[in-house]
Symmetry: C2
Subunit: 361 residues, 2 copies
């Protein structure tokens, strides 16, 4: 088998797969990439046991064949190639890679040692890759990294009639993102947060629509030049909607970047153990204050009051910053009280909603 393809697209595809393919594994075969010449391109597959990923790279291919090649090594070699074109040849179990004045010969293994891939997609919905990527990436931060209540280590994807929702929580905060879509059924799928990170990377380089499906405990995604299967977590989130407050005592508007920058400055002085930072609203005046063992920091800002009264609230500064992270323009903050959950939304991206619970002080 002989293959000719641009270094650039080959190297980009390998970079995505290298992130999935483990450098070491209790199942050493997984450190390999499946490299296969097909009629219209080169097929590359990798797996970490939780995600199976297949990328198709357009290439001129003569002949057919599939072998396993050490994943990290292949990535390193291809990134460093001197030419813009790469020629691959598979013969007698060796993969030869040539480009410009450089030539390498890599030992390979038989492809039948690789775990089987089940890339068949039972499509539930088609969604633009960018929308799905945005939904996952806006809420990812709120997933738990603790073993306690393991289900919160995943991001829940919910299919409802007319919309798709991604939601994450660690029990102390919540983030959700809604996308309107012509969906008919109800379905909940919990994807491990680590897999979500890789899915976001794959989606970000994809154009057009993605076909999303589920089968036998797996999420399946198929789009332009890729197919992906990710193992799902068992179970689903407890009812989280009841922590979103309905009674609002104060609602304000403030440019998100202004508030974020101020929080970052002031939090430097916060107590190292609880990261406490206070927001003190009084009319249009907003004082951001933190005080710890090293001293005290404060900043005077202005916020537009939409409705409500003066209020003082204390937060974990990191949680507040995380919740503001996805906001691009104006933050709309709604406070139900100093000891009950607060809502953070983005005026220009109504799909996003975050809930942060104030510190008990």
């Amino acid at each position: 088998m002989q293959v000719r393809l641009p270094k650039r697209s080959f190297s980009e595809a390998l970079a995505v797969l290298e992130r999935v393919v483990p450098t070491r594994s209790s199942s050493p075969v997984l450190t390999n990439l499946w490299v296969e010449g097909q009629e219209d391109g080169l097929i590359l597959r990798g797996s970490n046991g939780e995600i199976d990923l297949e990328l198709a790279v357009p290439a001129e291919v003569d002949g057919q064949g599939a072998r396993l090649v050490p994943g990290q090594l292949l990535g390193q070699v291809v990134r460093g190639l001197p030419g813009e074109l790469v020629e691959l040849a598979l013969q007698d179990g060796e993969l030869t890679i040539e480009s410009g004045s450089f030539k390498t010969r890599l030992a390979t293994a038989a492809s039948d040692e690789f775990p089987g891939f089940e890339f068949a997609v039972d499509s539930l919905v088609n969604i633009p890759a960018r929308e799905l990527s945005r939904a996952f990436s806006r809420v990812r931060y709120a997933a738990s990294s603790e073993d306690y209540r393991a289900i919160f280590r995943g991001v829940q994807l919910e299919l409802h009639p007319g919309r798709l929702r991604a939601v994450a929580s660690d029990g102390f905060r919540l983030a959700l993102y809604d996308v309107s879509l012509p969906i008919e059924e109800e379905r909940k799928l919990v994807v491990p947060a680590r897999s979500v990170d890789e899915i976001i990377r794959v989606l970000e380089r994809s154009e057009g629509d993605v076909s999303l499906g589920a089968q036998a405990g797996h999420l399946t995604l198929a789009g332009d030049g890729f197919r992906l299967v990710a193992a799902l977590m068992e179970g689903e989130f407890p009812d989280y909607e009841r922590v979103i407050p309905q009674q609002i005592a104060l609602e304000v508007r403030i440019p998100a970047a202004l508030l974020r920058d101020s929080l970052k400055r002031v939090k430097v002085l916060a107590d190292r153990s609880n990261h406490r930072l206070d927001l003190i609203f009084n009319g249009e005046a907003l004082d951001v204050v933190a005080e710890g063992e090293m001293g005290r920091g404060s900043e005077a800002l202005q916020a537009e009051v939409v409705a409500g009264e003066a209020m003082s609230l204390a937060y974990n500064a990191e949680y507040l910053l995380d919740a503001l992270g996805p906001l691009a323009s104006t933050a709309r903050l709604r406070f139900s009280g100093a000891a009950s959950p607060s809502i953070i939304q983005d005026e220009d991206d109504q799909g996003y909603l975050a809930v942060v619970v104030p510190l008990r002080v």
Copy 2:
């Protein structure tokens, strides 16, 4: 005491000092910075016990005073300030920092807890900061990180009549850099490599000349806006000049970047234990070859033969790349034989000379 100064110059000076000031120390007072208002500027001092560094930042100062302020915290606060001007006020043991809408109050400690600084410079030679920085940074890589023969963990600065030399070695390779200077005496000073790294950073932001001196086991440097004292190592390098070969069997010229890029590509295939990479010279042809457990890589290059015959040499690829690292234009390589030291020089920077010993194969 009240001080007004631009955020930018304050923050740049703090960034340099923050690298020296330890975040934790068995001597906790060293985690502080000495902050002092003088007539024409703000004096900042920090120490890690091996290097004492003083930076002067131009500022408007009313009154006088010196206090100790937690170093990392001050850096973080100042970097984040919203305005372009910073106002400091020292009163009742508290340092107030104001900028734009932000205000902070930091607890400080009395300055007499700080170790004494001996910044007096007994000048041996004046040298442009850039030249000294270049001399140190070109040879730094060759210093040892092993405890064996501890003197090689330093960079030796040699004053000879008419020139200054920086030299580093780990016993397997050697790098030296000569600068012509009107020096009259002979002197050898061995500076710990870790201190060399910080000295390079300080010199890189300095203009003009530096006054270099030595006193009581310390190197002293004084230049535009800074004074620095670094503890020296005891002893000096064994005679290293005898490893620089005099009999040359092959001399070639080759663009340094071309050779470096090729070595980086080919070394990916090198044996993981000895990093062996072969250079095979035959007329104008140069083959770069590596072979390891994963396969074989090779690249065909051309090198101009200045004098000599065909030769095959094996190196540790990392050592060869390190030695080529400082080269900007054309490398001049001189080989004394396959089992004896090789010389690497830069045609456009005659001050630099590296010696690498081939692998025994």
